[in-house]
Amino acid sequence: MRNVDKIQGVHKMQIDGTEVTFSDGETILEVAQRHQKDIPTLCYDPRLEPFGGCRLCIVELEGARNPVASCTTQATSDMVIRTSTDSIEAYRRTLLDMVISENREVDVHPLRGYVSNELASLRDKYEIYSSNINGTTSGRSKADDNPFILRDYDLCISCYRCVRVCAEQEGDHAINVMNRGFHTQITTEFDGLLKDSACTFCGQCIQTCPTGALADKKALRAADTVPETQIDKTRTVCPYCGVGCSVDILTHDEKIIGIHPAMDGPANQGALCVKGQFAYDFVQHPDRLKVPLVRGDDGKLHETSWDDALDTAAAGFQNVHAKHGKYSVYGIASGRAPSEAAYLMQKFIRAGFGTNYIDNCSRA
């Protein structure tokens, strides 16, 4: 993450007629965003090094001949900035028009990825619904039989966010840019399948793509049945390893349909791995235990009611306790259930039997 070791020096500059303060190392965009200025961006991801590719974030800098890209220009003392003059807005509209004209479609299902509607929102903001520009699409989609990542490069606008997130955040360099201009193409080494590259299927490229060119194939399975506006999000922590990445579970009508990383997750700052991103469907898998089971006289497990199962469970402990004493009962808590479960497991043993015959599963 950038901005971590910023030196504490406070300076002043002017944005749209208001005097604002900033600290060393901030870019014009960062200062403006802190002061609620809505500067459009496309190639910008706050977690990545500034790139300056799309030019949409240009602003007028007094004294400079040409507008400057606010995402790559450091703020300096006494700068006078205008973020939204007529000529700047006209320039941005033309740029957007060109970008849009190069794409097969702009309206994509939000299940494609975390910010897959970024381009569409800008289109709406600038009301670019008909165009005189006849663009050539810059990428060609890549057939890739992997189950997670759709590589629909017809929608690629060459912002290189995927390439940069892969290199800077995931540290993998699985994908790169081939050719330039209209023939730009995001590709893996030797133009092959992702699975034969260094890709770990962490999904971070999907979640930073502003057009849905890289998309969550698994989540898209629900695209036909889930209306775009009816996706609920619940913030939680990944069920797998001890890193504790924050995620949002996407649901619709009591069904889990996908995962988004939490960009502000304290342990992961938007990063996930293949398990956290894609391995969520165990929850609603048909193999789940749905009903309590009790072993019958025939030696087999049979479905039963909660009352019966709990009575049987309790009676068994009671019998063993009566017959063999308190040191005959043992509890093993889970490393995956919430802490309340582990706490009650130890309370069950300590408050119930008065022993310390309790452990968790960390020893194996």
Binding site: M1, P147, G171, C202, K218, T234, P239, Y240, C241, G244, C245, I249, T251, I256, P266, G276, A279, Y280, F282, V283, H285, R288, L289, K290, P292, L293, V294, L301, A309, L310, A313, A314, G316, F317, V320, K323, V329, G331, I332, A333, S334, R336, A337, P338, S339, E340, A341, A342, L344, M345, R350, A351, G354, N356, Y357, D359, N360, C361, S362, R363
Partner: protein, 530 residues
């Protein structure tokens, strides 16, 4: 972990030992990759040429189970070269003089004879770590899953104490925890030696506190570990309540384990799937899964976070806390009248000094400008503790341990001439009850295989892609051979994630006598073609 995850980007020298981090904790590994991109040096010690080794500047391919020897050799060099932090040693530690004496004989040349790592590489590693301004150690089960797990960890502490690489940004001794709430399970007191908050059960004051809280006289004596309990099944242990653990697949020596659970008079398993372990139970209770239940969990950097329900539990499944309380109530145990997880967590906070400043509502809000949700949080005004041991250690001074190297419980012999070591893989998780049921994962990981160095194939008459039989002193299994340079000559690797290739039938030769962690990492085997 002594230090927060963000610190992973900050060391000058990173020493990773016994951690396959790129596969087991991928997001944490990205922090290290950033440090390396910034110019940090990475030292990796691991018997296998794991992915992390490819990123390293110095790779130490030590023989399985020889970690203590390597670390003693490194301590020797740090002392010999005068790279110790004398101020730190003077003010923050005790026992250095004895330790200095102790390591005099454990030269890197000696360590080479045990570990197989060239003495000069051991020297380089020691010098890099010793010279660093910020040196950080990361480890996982590769250090602890040995009969000498405690000595291994103590050896790492020795290195950090000698060099003062602790209690500062970008330093520390950092174990990475394997399951999303394994830290929380320990915090919550699911341990035979500690009440919640790591309060010792042998301290009469703690006992008194919990006697009052629970209205029950509790033993002033440690309980037994799970490992011992499994050994005593049928003898003195006759009933078990197991919450969500596939003991049978994850524990070493599966046959022993299955036998143990079968000999119980009463086994109750709470789980989300009918696991191999649940199939042995007398009562199986369907738990609400992740995504279906509210609660709190703690990550590897002691960060206490909320888990939230996004959907209703499937079928009749119920949250773990409800199930446990219902059994307790039927046994007339006091204090199990809960209507939600909130009062349970708040009760835990009220009894645990490290959680004393926390409660459900605070965890629900999460990190703020004034508050970091990392324990210890001893009171309401405390800002949270991203970094442990700043200024002082909890127990006063850091103690040097005069550890000795010991051979693994079993070493290779004429009958079992090959070292088997086990672990996990990126796309699967533990015993695969979860990842095995996630669509698409099979694309990457259709089946388990035994990783063998290509140069060893001929010697053992094996063929890449063909099946072989692998024996240990405890049993034998069939497994497919995969030739790869990740395995060194004479050592093979398999993960224990697949029920149909039950690698843990073979392992289980011994346990750490103190922590009772199983020696899953080392097992001598014999291989033959099928």
């Amino acid at each position: 972990m002594s230090n927060p995850l963000v610190d992973m980007q900050k060391p000058d020298v990173i020493f990773c030992i016994g951690t396959n981090m790129t596969e087991c904790h991928p997001v944490a590994a990205t922090g290290l990759k950033k440090a390396i991109a910034r110019g940090a040096k990475l030292i990796v010690a691991d018997p296998r040429r794991i992915g992390l080794a490819d990123l390293s500047h110095l790779y130490l391919p030590l023989r399985v189970g020889s970690d203590t020897a390597l670390l003693l050799g490194m301590a020797h060099v740090i002392a010999r070269e005068g790279l110790v932090d004398e101020e730190f040693i003077k003010h923050r530690t005790t026992g250095y003089d004895d330790f200095f004496e102790h390591i005099g004989r454990w030269t890197p040349e000696w360590a080479e004879t045990i570990t197989g790592v060239p003495a000069k590489d051991i020297e380089t590693a020691a010098i890099w770590y010793g010279i660093a301004d910020k040196g950080a150690i990361y480890y996982t089960l590769g250090i602890t899953e040995h009969i000498c797990g405690v000595e291994n960890v103590q050896s790492l502490c020795n290195l950090a104490l000698m060099t003062g690489h602790v209690g500062r940004e970008g330093t520390g001794i950092n174990p990475m925890r394997g399951q999303n709430n394994i830290q929380g399970a320990g915090d919550s007191g699911a341990l035979p030696n500690n009440y919640p908050g790591f309060q010792s059960v042998t301290d009469p004051e703690n006992q008194q506190k919990f006697k009052v809280a629970y209205g029950k006289e509790i033993d002033l004596e440690k309980g037994i570990t799970k490992v011992t309990a499994l050994e005593l099944c049928g003898d003195s242990i006759h009933a078990m309540l197991i919450d969500g653990e596939n003991t049978l697949i994850s524990d070493p020596d599966r046959e022993h384990c299955e036998h143990a659970l079968r000999s119980l008079e009463h086994l109750v398993v709470i789980d989300i799937f009918l696991t191999e372990t649940a199939e042995l139970a007398d009562v199986v209770l369907p738990a609400a899964a992740w995504g279906e239940t509210d609660g709190v969990c703690t990550n590897t950097e002691r960060r206490v976070q909320r888990m939230r329900a996004a959907v209703q539990p499937i079928g009749q499944a119920r949250p773990d806390w409800w199930i446990i309380s219902e059994i307790a109530k039927r046994l007339d145990f006091n204090g199990f009248d809960y209507d939600s997880p909130k009062p349970i967590f708040n009760e835990l906070c009220s009894l645990s000094p490290i959680y004393a400043g926390l409660d459900w509502d605070r965890i629900d809000i999460g990190v703020t400008d004034e508050f970091n949700n990392q324990w210890p949080v001893p009171n309401r005004d405390h800002p949270g503790t991203p970094r442990l041991h700043e200024g002082t250690f909890v127990n006063g001074k850091g103690i040097f341990s005069n550890v000795h190297y010991r051979d693994p419980a079993e070493t290779i012999s004429e009958d079992f001439p090959v070292w088997l070591t086990t672990g996990r893989r990126l796309q699967s998780y533990h015993t695969r009850t979860q990842t095995g049921r996630a669509e698409g994962i099979d694309y990457f990981l259709p089946e388990e295989s035994l990783e063998v160095n290509p140069a060893d194939l001929e010697k053992w008459k094996l063929t890449d892609g063909e099946w072989c039989r692998m024996h240990s002193a405890r049993g034998s299994i069939h497994i497919k051979v995969k030739a790869t340079n990740r395995s060194p000559r004479g050592t093979v690797f398999a993960s224990f994630s697949f029920g149909d290739v039950p690698v843990n039938l073979l392992t289980g030769s011994g346990y750490d006598p103190v922590t009772h962690t199983a020696e899953l990492k080392v097992c001598p085997v014999k291989l033959e073609p099928l």
